[in-house]
Symmetry: C2
Subunit: 755 residues, 2 copies
């Protein structure tokens, strides 16, 4: 058991991840580790052109190759769709380089590769659309044959009267920003093992953020009932918003398995991963805002054009996230979002880590920095003046029952020495602040936001805790164990977390929208309270006190104020089972936020970045990050800091390094050598500050520490770069090339007003 605080026994201690020994020794099982009797290996044959007609598909040679057990093309899919615009296997047209056309299953991987190469597909190329600007232009050729234009989605969302509020503002300013395509670079490649060799039930092993959503997708596509689709989500090597939905390879493995009457495994190759893993597409974002002379922010308007790639999947949700988030951080009077999601012949996109918020937070943060500069205001003061507070209700009706935003701003400013540094640093050194907000729940994205939990206690007082919440490496299972341990007064080490298999795990939408700690955590607490009541019955009889007068702590149970009368927790559980009654203790519980808003709780953060820019090379060195995050309560400070560190790492990657270089629909750097993510020596000095606002609805007061810190990060870094070079770069990532360009542009504009 780790070190304890005085008030709580387990919550607040620095608990190493329960599965760390397994991970460190390679014993954790991932999808590719699973081997089934008679298992085959599958390969997908993908389009080699960005757009065009399929003239013919010849599978005859592949089918004849010894060891090949199944070959499928669109003829085998019955016109099966994956999402509203995508055929599982292309029929007449292909829409991007990588589009799925055929697939094979063979007795080993080599044979499968050979068979895939033997499938001959003849194409008739058509003129493709690669940029959102081309595709969105009036009169552009329409890419998807059954649609009227290239807009996968269009939204115009209004909160308050934006036009009126702009008219009332003293100053109005707008800035346009660009972000380029990115890739998630999961540690674990996409993959699936499907066994659909018997009618009535399909079993599938696959990494995911949400086994339930993949289950629903597969069930719907195959015309099955949800419970007849068993999804085994073992360990997941990274997800970062990108592993929520069913993808073509899931169904392709299923159909190959059905045809071959054998289980089929498909694991993406390292280059295929860049296609399968839907990551960030190009964004063009214009932020416009109105402020009063005193710095009061009154209104924000966003104009958004973003790249869908060939297929839309669930990119619809982006405008909602973006528009809601934009109004959640500041006390504004009106807000408007206008956005268009544009089809192109690029790979289909979704989110990079950060829920798609990195480009928009980068843009909004840089924009407001310019607004503050325009007013001659210190950016920290600007944030403090306009930032939301506890008790605030946003334009869309979100109410903050807890809010540590100003605490975060003040603490990062103090700890980083902001006042001493801002405006006083030597040339090419800079400091910048970013602020962020994040929901702790995903209500509204699905029909309900329930998490359920179940637990059973062994004779030795140790526990199995069942949750449908996956742990993608962030340590959420350890957090769940700590909440259960705190509630029952035992140690997190006493708990084995069971998860990942939809037949076994209780219902849980999954690890989305930073709902884990808050929502599943509340469910786990409820299940633990259910068990506690049963244990208290025995303990109350033994100790001759009311159940409500019992303390559960340090693996003991004792009457309040009388720890000398303590009996071991283990003995109470043992005696409950070994009694006349023979009662075995199990606890069940669930939680569903009683709100119609995205969440009942929201976390807040501030980050201050310090950079050095080399004017010769354009290289930005991120020297230090001071990170404060209001997590409500840090259940596991070690994991909270891990999240802060990890998200700064990922945020700096997206801000300074990561970019897919596109050439006529082909990703040029489609591998992990040429696609650059930060290296260990590029990680800055970290100063982490945990702010605890103790949320009234959170389990032990806890809120999220999921993607909150990353949504607070890119603008802090970008603002620091602006501060260092005296020029604002409006395109992500801020690569050395763009810095040098900016320095040249600044030189050119010398004497004029910047940007």
């Amino acid at each position: 058991m780790a070190k304890k605080t005085d008030k709580l026994g387990v919550v607040g201690t620095r608990q190493p991840k329960l599965d760390a020994p397994l991970k460190a020794t390679g014993r954790s099982q991932f999808t590719d580790d699973v081997v089934l009797p008679g298992m085959l290996y599958g390969k997908i044959v993908r389009s080699t052109i960005p757009y065009g007609k399929i003239v013919s598909i010849d599978v005859s040679k592949a089918e004849k190759l010894p060891g090949v057990k199944a070959v499928i093309t669109h003829k085998d899919t019955g016109g099966m769709m994956v999402g509203p615009d995508q055929l599982l296997l292309c029929d007449k047209l292909v829409y991007y380089i990588g589009d799925e056309v055929a697939a094979v299953a063979a007795i080993d991987e080599d044979t499968a590769i050979e068979a895939a190469e033997l499938i001959k597909i003849e194409y008739e190329p058509m003129p493709p659309l690669f940029t959102i600007e081309e595709a969105a232009a009036e009169g552009a050729p329409v890419m998807h044959e059954y649609f009227e234009d290239n807009f996968a989605d269009e939204k115009d969302l209004n909160f308050g009267d934006a036009d009126k509020t702009f008219a009332e503002s003293d100053h109005v300013r707008s800035d346009e920003f660009i972000s380029n395509p990115t890739h998630n670079c999961f540690a674990e490649l996409h993959g699936v093992l499907a066994d659909y060799s018997l009618p009535g039930k399909i079993s599938m092993w696959t990494p995911s953020q949400s086994a339930i959503l993949i289950q629903k997708g597969v069930a719907q596509s195959l015309g099955m009932s949800e419970s007849d689709v068993r999804i085994n989500n073992l360990n997941t090597g990274g997800a970062f918003s990108g592993r929520g939905a069913m993808r073509p390879h899931h169904l392709i493995a299923a159909l190959l398995s059905r045809k071959a009457s054998r289980p089929v495994k498909i694991i993406a190759t390292s280059d295929e991963e860049f296609i399968v893993c839907r990551s960030g597409g190009r964004n063009r974002l214009t932020f416009k805002s109105g402020v009063m002379k005193d710095g009061t922010l009154k209104v924000i308007e966003v104009d958004h054009l973003y790249d869908c790639g060939a297929y839309v999947e669930t990119q619809f949700i982006m405008p909602i996230i973006l528009s809601v988030t934009t109004q959640m951080l500041y006390k504004i009077e009106a807000m408007r979002y206008k956005g268009k999601l544009v089809y192109t012949n690029n790979v289909p996109y979704f989110f990079h880590h950060g829920g798609g918020l990195v480009p928009s937070q980068f843009a909004l943060g840089q924009h407001l920095n310019l607004v503050a500069q325009g007013l001659g205001m210190d950016p920290v003061d600007f944030q403090l003046k306009n930032g939301v507070v506890k008790g605030h209700t946003t334009l869309s009706g979100i109410h903050y029952a807890s809010c540590g935003l100003k605490d975060c701003i003040k603490k990062t400013a103090r700890k980083s020495g902001w006042k001493r540094k801002y405006g006083k640093l030597p040339p090419y050194k800079g400091i910048g602040i970013g602020c962020g907000v994040m929901s702790s729940g995903g209500k509204g994205l699905y029909q309900h936001d329930t998490s359920a939990a179940f637990l059973k206690l062994g004779e030795d007082g140790k526990m199995s805790l069942f949750t449908g919440l996956p742990d993608m490496g962030q340590g959420s299972h350890t957090t769940m164990a700590m909440i259960a341990a705190e509630t029952l007064g035992i140690a997190a080490d006493d708990i084995t977390v069971i998860s990942g298999d939809t037949d076994i795990a209780p219902f849980d939408i999954g690890a989305f929208s930073q709902r884990g700690t808050f929502t599943t955590g509340n469910a786990v607490k409820n299940a633990s309270l259910d068990a506690k009541k049963q244990i208290a019955k025995t303990a109350s009889e033994k100790l001759n006190v009311k159940p409500s007068a019992l303390v559960f702590r340090d693996r003991k149970v004792y009457p309040k104020g009388a720890p000398d009368k303590a009996i071991p927790f283990e003995d109470v559980v043992f005696d409950t089972l070994h009694s006349q009654e023979g009662r075995f203790i199990m606890g069940r519980g669930f939680y569903n936020s009683p709100t119609t808003k995205p969440a009942l709780a929201y976390s807040f953060g501030a980050q201050i970045a310090e950079v050095e820019v080399d004017p010769e090379t354009g290289i930005v060195t991120l020297v230090k990050m001071t990170v404060a995050h209001d997590v409500g309560r840090a259940i596991n400070p070690l994991a909270v800091e891990g999240q802060m560190d990890g998200q700064v790492f990922s945020g700096m990657g997206q801000t300074l390094f990561e970019e897919c270089f596109m050439d006529n629909g082909q990703i040029l750097n489609q591998n992990r050598i040429d696609y650059k993510i930060p290296r260990p020596f590029e990680i800055p000095e970290m100063a982490n500050i945990i702010v605890e606002s103790i949320d009234p609805y959170g389990p032990y007061g806890a809120k999220e520490v999921g993607e909150g810190p990353i949504a607070t990060n890119p603008h802090a870094i970008a603002n620091a770069v602006s501060n260092a070079i005296g020029y604002t770069i409006k395109e992500l990532p801020i690569t050395p090339e763009r810095v040098l360009q900016a320095l040249r542009q600044k030189e050119k504009e010398k004497g004029g007003k910047s940007s």
Copy 2:
């Protein structure tokens, strides 16, 4: 959904086993199907002599063989024991041919075999003891060095005053019987896969009747807490009383895994199986009874000498089973059991299928048949006169709340045409009756007899049902699903049964003492009622009636008497989740018989066998079996009949065929060709009669149909043989050789009184 009766929706329908498609297509996973990353293969080096000293063990060549990752001998075990008299690996002495001396783990099976052969063990043989008579004789050399004699156990159990009752009896008779060693012949060989490569937790895959008991054994041996030992009991290919306890191979695989830091799999070879699978040893049983002239049975005495083999394990329980069972079938005034369990240098024994009761039931049944003959009484009348009835309390205090014994006797007699046939058949044709009783619970064998169950309902109204009760092929999981389905008014097909993994399954002692249907069945019913209450809350609001006025039936819920107002069960469950509350339905329940006796319910049976004997060859043909069994309520008549068929098959095997031929401690027919079990064409015509006494405590009135029918079988067959040849064979099995011997003996005794 299968055909329904009027009163119940699911219970009483003929439900095919839920896992039948998986079994039939080879998709069911057994231990040997599990492959782990880095897994090694283990082999055990066994003693080649029956008794002697180990002079030296040389493992140097084995250790040097490339691919060998671990070699262990007693030096690696720290003197670890398996049971009270057995070292995990032999140190100074070996006690039987097959005793574990060393073990190896290597990268593949061939290398492991080669390494095992490279281990050189030098022995100094000592004079062995092979028969119970030798070993039990006064002055016999003591086999186990720390013990004073060769008796592993001695019991003298008295109920009532046997001496007095014998004195009061009109007639006293005694007969001595022998049974020879047998082997269980499981479809699945013994095996284990152990992963003990990390400290703190061990995972083990192994087939078993009781994952919990193996867990306890391993935990105790390795000095771990129960919950730190994870037993994965996938499918089990037969168990028949023989797969309850931890065996040396479990710990050997664990120690090899620990030493090699890799998972290790050990699967017995087909000949090794005869050593690993502790089956039936030799029994010498003398039954003595006292009756009145009118046929009233007053007292039974048993004298019992039985072969322990080299080690005792849990053979202690045999006298309890035997003494309790003997007094459970007849209204007697007194009973005495005297037994000695004798160590020999044979393989360690335990039970063959039938809980060890086949030899004793054979003996008791033949003995009482002779008693009835002596009185000139029809055996059926004798059974009817003395058999227990509902409301009876046995000498040991067992009370019968339900009892269908006389129903069984009468129905088999009528259906078989007993009156028409008994005493009226041509020479070498015979008819015989056997009666039996069996507990539905194992209370007293362990500290408590709790079974727990848990369930969760998917959005589609389908269920996962969690139970620790293993299904060894008898269909118990299907029975559990039917009980849950009946309670909730859905179909058994809607249910996935989750079992086998101690981390996941709720507590359950296992499939012992025919406790499954009764005890786990009650737990499943309780868990289902818990869920039903939650569903009823929603349905009651929707239908505007009290929860108690709701009917759950045919996947629908409706107000009593108003099936036209029915709403689909699926919709009620879906709406409960998709409500404001977001409630996810889980049910938990447990059951522990409120009794201090072995069980709260007992089942009864009668069987009538018809045979033909070929006087030339001595071959007995079992022509027909009429089987009646009081199962309380047949949850699944298809499975009940399957149990009846299967147990007649197994019972006829033990009665007519099965015998291990021993030669100086060596099993001569140590393979499945020379060890004879019945072949399909030897299965008789079956006439099955299900008797339903509707037990007040059973789930829907159900009791066991586990090993009840086999305990009713051997004496029916043996009595029929006696009836056919006019001579009673008192040794099992009744092979053609013994029949011919009997016929010769009868010839010799011609004119004298039989037996």
